[in-house]
């Protein structure tokens, strides 16, 4: 039925099966869209956010997907700037995942603001002092870059490729992709950092406030670093999941191992920096404001030292250790475990830097405020997942995402 659009040399499942997957994901998507419409038409009272939790699940989701989508810029950076050519076999997928992550982030931001129809004020009336302005500009620009990086991939669709104009367009775009990758990498270094800055500049919140370099708090650098370190892990994890779902090997091990190794070393160096940052903050920054480390990890029902261990040890040191060792990297099971732990690690980091910041009391007579999201928040946060599944399913089906697929899975 749709065979004319399926890439050459690969086999795809029956359209019926494909449609069932789309329908299931589509149902989840619709649920999310319904929740989104509720938020837009009835207002943010549909959420469980409150005046203590101005930032909540959505901002966490935003930070998390952008960190996870960091695979796109960093893989692109490695491929086009550093010249790790093998990575061309995974960079397409990294771009797609990045595209999904960034478009989701923008969508969530559009739901998260109280006046979506005035959202463009952030550009028109921009306040250059605000980290969020920086985030908005870089995020939008990089989303544009990702779109441009994704378009040639779409144009490679067999059906589309037959249109000469589009064929040439795709071809020409490929040639200048390095320029976009470089731009994207530059933008990403900035906005990943700005996202870190969002929490780090809050000098009214001793839990998140960090000193820094010039106008950038240390979290600025830590966020960029962690996105570069953890993003590729997410790309690899999704690749692994895709392989499991399709039952095919899609990317050669040497490619995976290369990216995993780089990611592992990035993670290792990051986690050292993070530990140093945490120690400095716990022993110098926080005490100068009258706080001890344990003030932030006690007297409440949820946030304990466990979360610090989960983030740094389980989600940082362990995956880094697995990925920097040859043996760990080569074992598919260990490798996948490391990917999962890493994804958890970076998500916990973003959670802590958003939600624990809101939860921890600053005034002595204030109390810890705990929060659980409403179903509308959960649905709109799952929405991007469903949307991602759909976009990946369609892209995988119709686009030559994995250049090594025909070779690894020859059709007899």
């Amino acid at each position: 039925m749709d065979s004319a659009f399926i890439p050459n040399g690969v086999r795809r499942c029956a359209p019926g099966k494909f449609l069932v997957v789309l329908a299931v994901a589509g149902a989840v998507l619709l649920w999310g869209v319904y929740a989104m419409l509720l938020c837009w038409f009835k207002g943010l009272n549909q959420t469980n956010m409150n005046n203590n939790y101005g930032f909540a699940l959505w901002i966490w989701a935003d930070l998390a997907v952008i960190a996870l989508g960091g695979g796109a810029f960093f893989t692109g950076f490695l491929r086009y700037i550093i010249g790790k050519d093998e990575l061309k076999n995974i960079v397409n997928y990294a771009v797609l995942i990045g595209f999904i992550c960034y478009s989701s982030a923008l969508l969530i931001l559009a739901i998260d603001i109280g006046q979506p129809l005035r959202g463009w004020f952030i550009f028109w009336h921009a306040n250059v002092h605000s980290m969020l302005t920086e985030v908005a500009f870089c995020l939008s620009c990089y989303f544009g870059v990702l779109t441009i990086e994704y378009i040639p991939l779409i144009l490679e669709n067999r059906g589309i490729d037959r249109v000469p104009f589009l064929h040439h367009l795709g071809h020409n775009m490929h040639d200048i992709m390095a320029v976009f990758a470089a731009t994207g990498a530059f933008l990403s270094f900035f906005h990943q950092g700005s996202l870190g800055g969002v929490a780090g500049v809050l000098f009214g919140r001793p839990f998140s406030f960090r000193e820094g370099f010039f106008i950038w708090p240390w979290t600025f650098f830590l966020f960029t670093w962690s996105a570069a370190a953890y993003g590729p892990c997410f790309t690899l994890l999704i690749t692994r999941i895709t392989e499991a779902v399709t039952g095919k090997k899609l990317v050669k091990d040497n490619v995976v191992e290369l990216l995993a190794k780089i990611s592992g070393w990035m993670m290792a160096t990051y986690i050292i920096a993070k530990i140093v940052d945490t120690l400095y903050w716990a022993n110098v920054t926080a005490p100068s404001k009258g706080f001890t480390l344990m003030d932030f990890y006690s007297h409440n029902a949820f946030y304990g030292v466990w979360i610090l261990i989960l983030e740094i040890v389980i989600g940082g040191i362990i995956p880094a250790a697995i990925l920097i060792t040859d043996k760990g990297r080569k074992s598919p099971a260990a490798r996948t475990t490391a990917f999962v732990l890493a994804v958890i690690g970076v998500c916990v980091n973003r959670w802590v830097m958003v939600l624990q910041v809101m939860a921890a009391p600053v005034m002595t007579f204030d109390k810890w405020a705990l929060y659980y999201p409403s179903w509308q928040e959960v649905a709109t946060t799952i929405l991007p997942v469903a949307y991602g599944v759909i976009l990946i399913a369609i892209s995988y089906r119709y686009l030559p995402i994995f250049p090594q697929e025909p070779e690894l899975n020859p059709i007899d």
Partner: protein, 261 residues
């Protein structure tokens, strides 16, 4: 330059609240809500969703009966000056919807500019900023009492204490009519100051030696909330009780307000 020429005229409005006198009756809160068109809903017991520009906190010394002691602390927006006007909230607003005015020392909030990202709320350690989670609705006919000098805020934006800026604007207008160039201390008083039945709140120009707040803020019992964060707030509190002064900021075990002060 022009700005420097006028530097001598710059005002820095602020408050001194005497916690020894404040009884926690709540008049300031209602006066504020009545003056500033603050809406209300049927259930306002979830204080994390309730808009109260002025909020009276109840502090306790934490000791068991009968050594228990409590103190009430009214908390308007602290109108932080931060460093050179970079208060925690002002510098984070991406759309310049909130600003610090060097001429008055007031942190403004422009509801029509705000698009509701709530970053300022995350930045404010005093929880002085409130989001309009709901459309403001008044029972049929009650919208009659709304004050035309204050804009009613639409759903989806952040609002906070403005030091009753409309009263400053009105005072200036009166001064223009009388041909005066400046306003007197009594010309501009906030609604909470005026209403407080105990007279606990004193409001005025912290820069002006003729104003009562100028002297009061220098009292040995004066302190500000969370000074150590560098927010540089303009609300001073007075308390003769050491535990209350200590509750104003965070201290490590071996520290105390006097040592840090």
């Amino acid at each position: 330059m022009k700005a420097e020429e006028n530097h001598g005229n710059t005002k820095k409005f602020g408050m001194v609240i005497d916690l020894d006198v404040c009884t926690g009756c709540g008049s300031c809160m209602v006066a504020c809500m009545a003056e500033n068109n603050v809406p209300f809903r049927k259930d306002e017991s979830d204080k994390l969703k309730s808009i109260t520009w002025m909020r009276v906190y109840k502090l306790s010394n934490g000791k068991p009966y009968p050594e228990t002691d409590i103190c009430y602390l009214p908390r308007p927006c602290q109108h932080c000056e931060g460093h050179d006007g970079h208060s925690p909230c002002v510098s984070v607003c991406p759309a310049t919807a909130t600003d610090y005015d060097m001429q008055t020392g007031i942190v403004s909030q422009i509801y029509t500019r705000c698009f509701g990202c709530r970053y300022c709320m995350a930045a404010c350690p005093y929880h002085a900023r409130y989001f309009n989670w709901y459309d403001p609705v008044w029972p049929d006919g009650m919208e009659q009492y709304l004050n035309p000098d204050v804009s009613v805020r639409m759903r989806g934006v952040v609002e906070k204490c403005s030091f009753c800026i409309q009263r400053y604007q009105a005072a200036k207008d009166r001064a223009f009519m009388e041909g005066k160039t400046d306003i007197e201390e009594s010309d501009y008083q906030t609604a909470c100051t005026q209403a407080c039945p105990a007279g606990a709140i004193t409001f005025g120009d912290l820069n002006n030696p003729a104003h009562a707040v100028y002297k009061l803020k220098k009292q040995p019992n004066a302190f500000r909330l969370l000074e150590r964060l560098g927010t540089n707030p303009k609300i001073y509190y007075l308390s003769s009780r050491e535990w209350v002064r200590r509750a104003g900021d965070n201290y490590l075990k071996n520290e105390g307000p006097a040592k840090i002060g």
